[in-house]
Symmetry: C2
Subunit: 356 residues, 2 copies
């Protein structure tokens, strides 16, 4: 029987060990064979472990790291100057084989940069991408890239499609998931040049390519996977987050406007609670950093106990379903067909690439 071990950057995020350690306790109770390596300042961690009833737990190991990467620290500083950070040491555990995956609620840029530096990418992938699950009317959708690559070539969008489909297939067991290309109109003529060329590549890729999708399609659940560059994806994700938060707050404001409205709203509270659960972003926490030669999951920096436990669960499932092995196999097959390499670089695209 094999055990699954996850390395946890226990110092990352807005709350650090006070939220992460209790979430680890929840996770360990769910998965009775899983093991965790908690990385961070030993004194802080031991205190929290004792508080969470995990002192001397047989499936918890503490690995000391003396530094913490700040939420606003840049990638270069994180890589060059913080070699003993909890983030770096957690990633090192994956590199050395001590863990099969790692998770951090720390700064996204530093996590992606450090992970890429330490773990490298899967052969055939030029650029790792950030992929998260979003709720839809009918279930959920995997969307990528959500911010790792502000500018992309068509070939990168193809690679994102492959990785997103593999994630959906591996973790949700969905066979041949559909992939949509985020565009500004469903007609083929619309969109910019990069997106048009990406559409051509996706059509030839043997993926279950649906074609163009629009912003409204994301939450309709039109496809299982939605692909876009990291600039568009980041704006999309944060817009949805902002719109959802505003709408929720407006509803709350109306219901709690005065003691009278509060009283009237009382009978409806159980239904409103169910509604809230359905759109609770904590249930969708944990973005996969796809394309790295190792499993790395990013939790939202402000994650609470439930949200961090959700992200741990995702990490576990990616390991359990051999995500890296599956992506690598599919990529090797596509590479053999010559579908992964960027086409000969034109002066125009060279200019773009240089500016990234």
């Amino acid at each position: 029987m094999t055990t699954t071990t996850i390395a946890v950057d226990a110092m990352g995020g807005d709350h650090g060990p006070s939220v992460i350690v209790p979430a680890c306790a929840d996770f360990l109770a769910q998965h009775t064979l899983a093991e965790l390596i908690l990385v961070g300042r030993e004194d802080a961690l031991q205190a929290e472990l004792a508080r969470a009833g995990l002192g001397r737990h047989e499936r918890v190991r503490v690995v000391a790291a003396s530094e913490v990467v700040g939420m606003d620290e840049d990638v270069k500083t994180a890589i060059r100057k913080k070699r003993d950070s909890s983030m770096r040491v957690a990633i090192d555990q994956v590199k050395s084989g001590q863990a099969q995956g790692c998770i951090s609620a720390g700064n996204t840029g530093a996590l992606m940069g450090t992970a890429k530096f330490v773990l490298k990418t899967i052969p055939g992938i030029d650029r790792p991408a950030i992929c998260a699950v979003l709720p839809t009317r009918t279930g959920q959708v995997y969307a990528l890239d959500l911010g790792a690559n502000a500018e992309c070539e068509p070939e990168h969008l193809l690679q994102f499609g492959i990785m997103g489909a593999m994630l959906c297939e591996a973790v949700d067991g969905k066979s041949n998931p559909s992939v949509g290309l985020l565009n500004i109109g469903s007609e083929e003529i619309k969109g910019n040049d990069t997106v048009k060329r990406a559409g051509d590549l996706l059509k030839r890729s043997h993926l279950n390519f649906y074609g163009n999708v629009e912003g409204t399609d994301i939450f309709k659940g039109t496809t299982d996977v939605v692909v876009c560059d990291g600039f568009v994806g980041n704006v999309m994700l944060k817009t949805a987050e902002g719109a959802g938060k505003m709408i929720g707050d407006f509803l709350k404001a109306e219901l709690t406007r005065n003691p009278f409205t509060k009283l009237l709203a009382l009978p409806a509270l159980p239904m409103i609670q169910r509604f809230k659960t359905r759109v609770d972003s904590r249930r969708y926490n944990g973005a996969a950093m796809l394309g790295l030669a190792g499993i790395v999951v990013k939790s939202h920096g402000s994650a609470d106990r439930l949200a961090f436990a959700t992200a741990l669960e995702r990490t576990y499932r990616e390991i359990d379903h051999d995500l890296i092995g599956k992506i690598s196999l599919r990529l090797a097959a596509l590479d053999a067909e010559g579908l992964l390499k960027p086409s000969p670089v034109s002066p125009q695209s060279a200019g773009l690439a240089a500016s990234v």
Copy 2:
């Protein structure tokens, strides 16, 4: 006393005259000096006018147009082959001075293309942009471009900032409105090359430039105006629309799950109604096509009576506040400082521009 005259493409949109004519009646009742020119098939219009109590109305004139631009028709067909379409003839009314502005619920691409062909742009503007108002926690925000320009140079984003600020200033009377540049991080180093260079231009523009904003800032109301390219803006708008619709439908589903939940929700209905009014997209209908040398407003294709009347109201206010005159003045001042012209075109940007 001057009257304001708006030309209405009465055949456009999903519903045509059956929705547009009643909306016109509502508008005329609100504005007792305004006049409308309804453009379309005379028989269809006269029947609807009679039904709406506008038969032989002294402030309504019907101008016949024998054709209608289809919702999926491309710009070239609209311009070359449908010279007697209701859309084209409505725009012609502005060109000839019969009307001071026009409105259509027809196909966005055809409307923008035809309007640009007939009316041309304001000197100093290379590319008109689509600008809509969105609700925020604290009020509203003008966002542009929402889809007219899938690829932009930094100078275009500057021009969008100027036009958006002028719209906010002219229509809402807000002096020196703040302008945010939509980006994927608030730090200056983030984002792609175009956005970085646009930030530099905006800083030097004498606009009240706030700096970078993110997707979450849009609905927070961080700035009065948000600027982005048309690809990003279109995804942003449709994502917000899709997320809002999904959340609303989830709430409705929980409250009406069964007769028992319906009963329990009953006392809360007035508050839920107020909440719905607050996020009702119909109250934000009517996008300005900014940068044209004439006022053109695009209504949502699926607009109902209330939504179309809202868009008519916006058209009226843009005319009433001399939007074109104000934008032209500001542009002339900036042009004199050499801040409007794109930098010498590199092979790279020439390639991009050609592909739009």
